[in-house]
């Protein structure tokens, strides 16, 4: 009988050992109620606070609940700026985890301080459903990094325009207020290559002193791969225009920018074709894309903005070309997140 006992133990061991019988019992999705059930909003859209001070690091989140998981869109629109922030999700509830606004923007311009924002919640599958609320911004969002300029202040002597920039349109070149991406001002370069048809319309240099420091830019990091250059650029998709931004380093060792003496420049290989976008765009790239070294980054003294008219494609007489710039900022580690 010992053999039999051994056999029994052997079988028991096998049966218990091979088969654990513990299974993954999480229901397989999609949920049937989500898929087929009728939709109902269970609670109205509310904001966690009536006012929000983004500059102080505050955020605001929104609450709403539905009877099932749905695709929803929360659209926040500035009453003054016209800025739009869009938050989307798939859930049965809006809360701090999925509907928090930190003052960022989806569509330019940026939100302004002390403006009323209208918040609208919609569910695309349920066309008639809409919930609204409002929030007051006490301040606008502050972005980490070295801000060269947002053109809100006069550039003064830190703007260097040469003697031969007569192809610029004097009426529309310079600080403008009609369509800023941030604040109240932006800088516009506009002109026509109709005097000396050499592709060149004009240029202007921005000295490092604009950032509020010394003659060289005090970047948050001088590792080219870690330092990102970000700026907002505007084009109305008028053809034949190209934009170029160059970085000057201190070639003569004076610690400040001197035109025609500091001549070594760095830039990204690709010119910005102004015919490829319309409206304001955020442009970002790491400084390593310009080929600049860490040592050279420590000696950047100015930026040059150039406006080029592509005479190979221009009709005769040529059309005016233009672009706008706003909020030029250097960030560390990643591109600017709006």
């Amino acid at each position: 009988m010992n053999n039999i006992k051994i056999l029994y133990v052997f079988y028991l061991f096998l049966i218990l050992g091979i088969s654990g019988c513990s299974h993954d019992t999480e229901p397989e999705m999609p949920n049937l109620v989500d898929r087929f059930g009728p939709f109902t909003g269970l609670s109205a859209l509310t904001a966690s606070q009536p006012t929000v001070d983004f500059a102080a690091g505050e955020t605001v989140f929104f609450n709403a609940t539905f009877n099932k998981n749905v695709d929803w869109i929360l659209e926040i629109t500035g009453a003054v700026s016209g800025s739009v922030k869009r938050i989307e999700g798939f859930s049965s509830e809006l809360n701090a985890s999925n509907a928090t606004w930190d003052g960022g923007t989806t569509e330019f311009p940026l939100f302004r301080a002390e403006e009323t924002v209208n918040v609208v919640l919609t569910v695309p599958e349920e066309g008639e459903f809409m919930e609204t609320t409002t929030v007051e911004t006490l301040s606008s969002k502050q972005y980490e990094g070295l801000l060269l300029t947002d053109f809100e202040q006069e550039l003064g002597s830190n703007e260097v325009v040469g003697n031969f920039e007569f192809e610029f349109n004097p009426m529309t070149t310079g600080r403008q207020t009609d369509i800023p991406a941030q604040g109240n001002f932006y800088y516009n370069l506009a002109g026509m290559d109709d005097v000396v048809p050499n592709f060149f319309v004009g240029l202007m240099d921005l000295k490092a002193e604009l950032a509020g420091g010394g003659g060289t830019l005090d970047f948050p990091t001088t590792v080219p791969e870690e330092l990102y250059f970000n700026y907002f650029i505007y084009s109305d998709r008028v053809p034949h225009g190209l934009a170029i931004i160059e970085f000057f380093i201190d070639g003569n060792g004076t610690g400040t920018y001197e035109r025609d003496q500091d001549t070594q420049t760095f830039r990204i290989a690709e010119d910005i074709d102004l015919n490829t976008f319309e409206g304001w765009q955020l442009m970002s790239y790491p400084m390593s894309d310009t080929g600049i070294s860490q040592e050279q980054l420590e000696n950047v003294v100015a930026l040059r903005l150039l406006l080029i008219s592509n005479m190979n494609t221009q009709p005769s007489p040529p059309l005016e070309v233009a672009y706008g710039l706003d909020y030029m900022i250097f960030t560390e580690g990643s591109a600017l997140q709006l």
Binding site: I15, G17, P27, V33, R35
Partner: protein
Amino acid sequence: MKNLFTKISLLLGMILLTGLSLWSQDGGSQATIADEEKAQIRFNGLGRTIINRTEIGGEILASDSSTVGQVTDGEFLLDLKVNATPNKSSEVQAILRLRNEFGGFFGAGQSIEVRELWARGIIADFVKYRVGDMDLAMSPYTLFSPDEEGFVNKPGVFQPLKQVIDYEQFYTDENTRRLQGGKIDFGLNFGSVLEDMEVSSFIARIRGTDFTTIPNRLITGGQLDLSTVTFDDSLGIKADVGFNLIHTFDDLQSGNAVTGIRNTVYTVDYDLTVLDKDNMSLNLAGESGRSEVKRAERITDNEGTEENVTIEGTEEDDTFMDVGLTFKLKKQKLTISASYIDIGPDFFSMGAQSKRIEFENNEFRNNKTYYDRIGTNRLERQVSLFDLSRDRELYTFRTADRLMAYDPRYSNTLPYGDATPNRKGLKFGVHYGEEMDKINAWVDGAFLTEIRGQGTTELKDFTLIKAAADFNIHQFLDWKNMIKATFGVQYESTTRGGGEFEVVDLNSTLIDLGLEVEIFSKFDLLLGAKLFNSEGRDYVPILTGFNDVQDFPAPLVFDDEETMLGLGIKYEFKKDIYMTLQYNHFESVLGTDNPDNYDFQQFFVLYNMEF
């Protein structure tokens, strides 16, 4: 788990060393190896002629002028089997098929093909081998071709057409799968503790490469079966235990495919005879195991040079258990069984879960060969019992890499046979009598539930009752000529609670009735009916890779009735040579006054000859 198998392997290796004698076993072939050295060539085969005329009618044709009223098809076929035994230890066989479609002439519709080709033999009077075509089955959870739905106890009148399907798709009563490859097997006899051991292994290709994105797919596996001696003669205690392993994989060195599948299933099956006396026996039997499925990728380095390694991506594994008791009253010819099953939701066994009926092909359509689209909107006609009874193109013996589509009306409890995943509960059976007894009857049932909800936390409950009885009436009346009545019924219920959009309530009943009367010697009158109704609603998910649910389409709502009547005569010239002439009437009612209702009238003559 790997350690466990290592230890078992070592244990078995030690047992092998104690073997006292060796013997060989058959490789499962049908033909017999010659007993003498003298070379032999035998010619056998099958001839078949079938001419079939099908006529459609019903409300659906009221405004449909594009559907032809009747179709006639058929074939003349000869399968010539050439079997040669050049010597005592080797044998080869080929089946050449000559086929001509009804209406085909001057080359049109004619075909000549090799239907089967294999060779087998014995090496050193010990190891048997076989290469070429082969029919293999292991356990219901590893390599198995589960029975198709739509049949309970086939009335004799409907059997000839079904036999044609079975023959064409290589279906056997042993639920084997037709494979093409090679296998070896051998056996050992022992003296103490173990009585004998059988070992078999195989490898086969189940899909060929297209030399671009589809790689070769192979299946390999083996069994090791051990039988003990009888430990206690008075009680008859003994045990059988088997180890099964099957592995399906894509050969990423074939073609340019970069991803493939890996599916491994390993199980232990056992049959412990607790009691075996002259009048009764009691057995504890079952099978347990685990499945794994992985995605394999072929990687290349930055220079584009191929590295001959694969990395495993997404992985799922799950277990199953099937354990039960079987009690036999031998003199009363009564067998009672009950078992508990727990098949994990992610249990994945390509060799055991692939269905015989292909309700949807890769284009999400079925392969009906006649009246595929009917009605003014030319909608695809849903598969019916009539189609299942005659359309061989709906059937397949392929091994699918995901759970195949099924029709919940015909089978919802165990659509993939015993290996249906996501089921647990009780199964039972009562079997009485033998085939030639006055009464031969059986009842099988299952009360199962899901383990994991589909789209909800609510679980479906399944009830399945299948009962059948054969009455050899001539034995009651002591008549010489046979009179046999057959009866079968299948009742299936699926329910699920929850909210309005979670509720499932589907009930289906299938009744098979048959009568075979031998009017004259070998001349039979055949009558039969299949009555089916299905009412209710259920959700059937669309599956993506790894059997994950991709989506739930709208719930299927049924209010269907199908009636199939058969009347025919059959004359058997001699065993396995017969001719039958039949008339079938089929009616599909898809709800009261539904303009899509239709009916079929079918006449056919079938001459079948096995020689």
